[in-house]
Symmetry: C2
Subunit: 140 residues, 2 copies
């Protein structure tokens, strides 16, 4: 049976990367592994590994993105939690069978080759949940 393996990352949204890093990096002392621009999604992302997880700070660079609208509506804060699953297709099939509303009915593929899908917060207790699958080359 498909199962959740771990919490992969916790994504936070903020309007200003420097201000966000002042707390997460300088205050808490969590090292930034890298900062990347993702033009196709209109965001800049900082990755801060913590133990087995990662905190991701997402800063919209354009107004016409979902994350920019989220920020405008709710202000800075937690955006989504990403759970790693061992079998994404089987997990999505089970959720669909239980009437869970999926944002991505079929998995999408990230530039680095990971398959992922988002679940609608309406079906997930108000939480935006991303599921993603470990790459075959890391689980073989």
């Amino acid at each position: 049976m498909a199962r959740v393996v771990r919490v992969a990352h916790l994504a936070l949204v903020h309007e200003d990367m420097d201000v966000a890093l002042r707390f997460w990096r300088d205050g808490l002392g969590i090292a930034v592994a890298r900062v990347a621009d993702v033009p196709q999604e209109g965001v800049r992302v900082a990755f801060l590994p913590v133990g087995d997880d990662e905190i991701e700070i997402v800063v919209p660079q354009r107004l016409d993105t979902g994350v920019a609208r989220f920020l405008a509506k709710r202000g800075p804060g937690m955006h989504h939690v990403c759970l790693e699953v061992d079998d994404l297709d089987a997990m999505l099939a089970r959720l669909r069978g239980q009437g869970v509303e999926l944002i991505n009915e079929t998995p999408r593929v990230s530039p680095d080759g990971r398959r992922y899908a988002f679940i609608h917060p309406r079906s997930a207790g108000g939480v935006l949940v991303e599921l993603y699958e470990a790459r075959a080359d890391t689980t073989a």
Copy 2:
């Protein structure tokens, strides 16, 4: 230097435990380790371990609690993230020195002996952050 060791748990707030468990337990298939009433805080909490972390579903049982007010204002969703630190006093001193607003100026102690303190979301990019310290008997 005091440092963050791991993400200890992610707390979600919901108005109905059965509805919340229908997604997190039955949908995602994450086993519930235990459910506990915490009368002194006016909440019922379900603990769902995932890898090295834990998802906690918090359901207010009284209206006169901070978490009940949070739920009334923002609806169900993510409530706070808890980070484990190796030296809570040193971490709080550093944060205080950087002008970070703490909800608990001095650590509180949970019924099971853990020392913890909350940071105000105003100073933490809109995220309610709990810091807690591993118990001495688990780090010695």
